[in-house]
Amino acid sequence: MSDTANKALLPTGLRDVLPPDAALEAVAVNRLLGVFAAHGYDRVKPPLIEFEESLLDGVGAVTTKDTFRVMDPLSQRMMGVRADMTIQVARIATTRMVRHPRPLRLCYAGQVLRVKGSQLRPERQFTQAGIELIGADTPVADAEVIGMVIRALDAVGVRDVSVDLMLPPLVPAMCDALQLSPEARRTLRDALDQKDAAAVKAMGGDVAGVFGVLLGCIGEAEEVLSRLQAMDLPAAAAQRRDTLAEVIALVREEHPAATLTIDPVEYRGFEYHTGVSFSVFSRGVSGELGRGGRYRAGEAQERAVGATLSVDAVTEAMEPLSSGPRVLLSVKDRLLAGRYQTDGWVTLNALQDPQDFAAEARRLGCSHYSVGGDLHAINDKQG
């Protein structure tokens, strides 16, 4: 028994995508993957659902709370519906494609499902498209992936892209150097997550001093870098900073005009990343367009770097599609459809010849109709 009176009601966070949005999304996916493919990223297609323990392994652990689970009646084991595709592609790379030469470049696109949407994106199902570069550990590899994201977004016409770079292992390395207790780390983590300068200051001592300065280091990349370089960081943290500087210089070389920012204390959602990571934003879109970074793939802990774009957010930043003009073809003229299409028309076949071609064409959203091989424009009121 259901209290759902209306058949159109969908569960929270799920929706039907209608024209022209569905077409726009397909175009976005195709163009993004086109850019990836052109740079030698080969497409893979993992299943929608797989065993829970492989799905939630490694970097997949961040999706634990987001994953729908079902019991597999055949194997009697728990399965998870993917909430993110990165971990699946990492699994493919380190198992079935383990003999393929490194660096291995893979790309993918598909639907993911989440138990709960985020605050800004309440959708529970959405499309991801991304790349993984496996078996490389150089700043050049990091810069390639960041550059690919900028390039791909440019190809779909997203403007004013800005990439926010971060170093998830930086704060833990500095906590180690200060020998902070687990409890102090947790308090610090919460404060840094909210960029709560007052709470950091309240911790007092070296912690307040060092992290107070770090909190002020959020902004335009080169400016923040010079400030980070002026700081006396512990050796492990200093090494991270120098890698970041190298990556930024490489990205700059390729994309001199890109907006790059640094946020050295950002951490949420990047808990399992092991090096330079990033979020991608665009002015005018309220949330992230995508994110990525360096991690370890599979049981072999292979070095990897990847990026995932949320296609729903990307389409929000895209211009609407402009489809070609539409022409209504009489039953006889349906044989000319191919010729019209070659000339850039979208053709609609009349299923029976109407009395008034102009009225019928207008009703179906066509600007022209074709009878006896002749093209006629309908006289719209706006001319």
Binding site: K195, A198, R268
Partner: protein, 220 residues
């Protein structure tokens, strides 16, 4: 500097009077209607052509900023704790509107009450999330009754025996025969920034944060 529109959300009421000198010291002067209590306007132009100020409830300041409808705002960390919005950064303590979030109960009850024995309590509050989290951390299940004001009435009318509310001087509690039994958090107002705005317009946003920081320092 970018000429993209910038929206600042300010809370109505008590905090506004304390916040305005800082807003002005940071170089933002709203149109005269802003200070007219009879004005029913909701958005106000400023001396910067691209900056507008909106005046909303404190909880709504956080919501506007979280969703990027406003870029900057002023709100208490009580509200930030309640929502836990990941899209809000609170980079600056403005040091205004100091008070605390506390648990209170009737004086008569507090004489015999032993909080360590609680396993479940019923609480009237405007902050159900903070309350649940606070008590869960102590192993106590809190059943919250959400009220939007006048929490102090709840115990006397038998709605529940305990409340979680903001306390500044404690005189309202006292007038209603209540006593503060547990401190949850200290509260002050913060300058808050939308995450995406800080990342996509870093120079501009950092500029405003610096201006407000300077204003706070001047005041101190």
């Amino acid at each position: 500097m970018s000429l993209d529109p910038l929206v600042i959300a300010l809370p109505k009421g008590r905090i506004l009077d304390e916040a305005m000198p800082l807003v002005r010291a940071a170089g933002i002067e709203p149109e005269p209607a802003f200070d007219d209590p009879k004005s029913r306007q909701l958005t106000f132009a400023t001396n910067h052509p691209h900056i507008r100020i909106i005046r909303v409830r404190s909880f709504d300041v956080a919501t506007f900023v979280a969703f990027g409808a406003a870029h900057l705002g002023v709100c208490g960390n009580d509200v930030l704790m309640e929502f836990g919005y990941p899209e809000i950064y609170a980079p600056l303590d403005l040091g205004i509107g100091p008070c605390r979030l506390a648990v209170a109960e009737p004086v008569a009850l507090s004489d015999s009450d032993d909080p360590t024995s609680w396993s479940h309590i019923r609480v009237a509050t405007k902050y159900p999330e903070v309350t649940k989290r606070h008590f869960a951390a102590r192993g106590v299940q809190a059943e919250c009754i959400k009220l939007n004001g006048a929490m102090e009435l709840a115990p006397s009318l038998g709605l529940c025996r305990r409340i979680v509310d903001l306390v500044s001087t404690g005189s309202t509690l006292k007038a209603n025969g209540l006593v503060e039994i547990e401190h949850i958090a200290d509260v002050t107002s913060r300058l808050i920034v939308n995450r995406a705005a800080l990342k996509t317009r870093p120079t501009e946003m950092n500029g405003w944060i610096a201006s407000f920081a300077e204003a706070v320092k001047q005041k101190a």
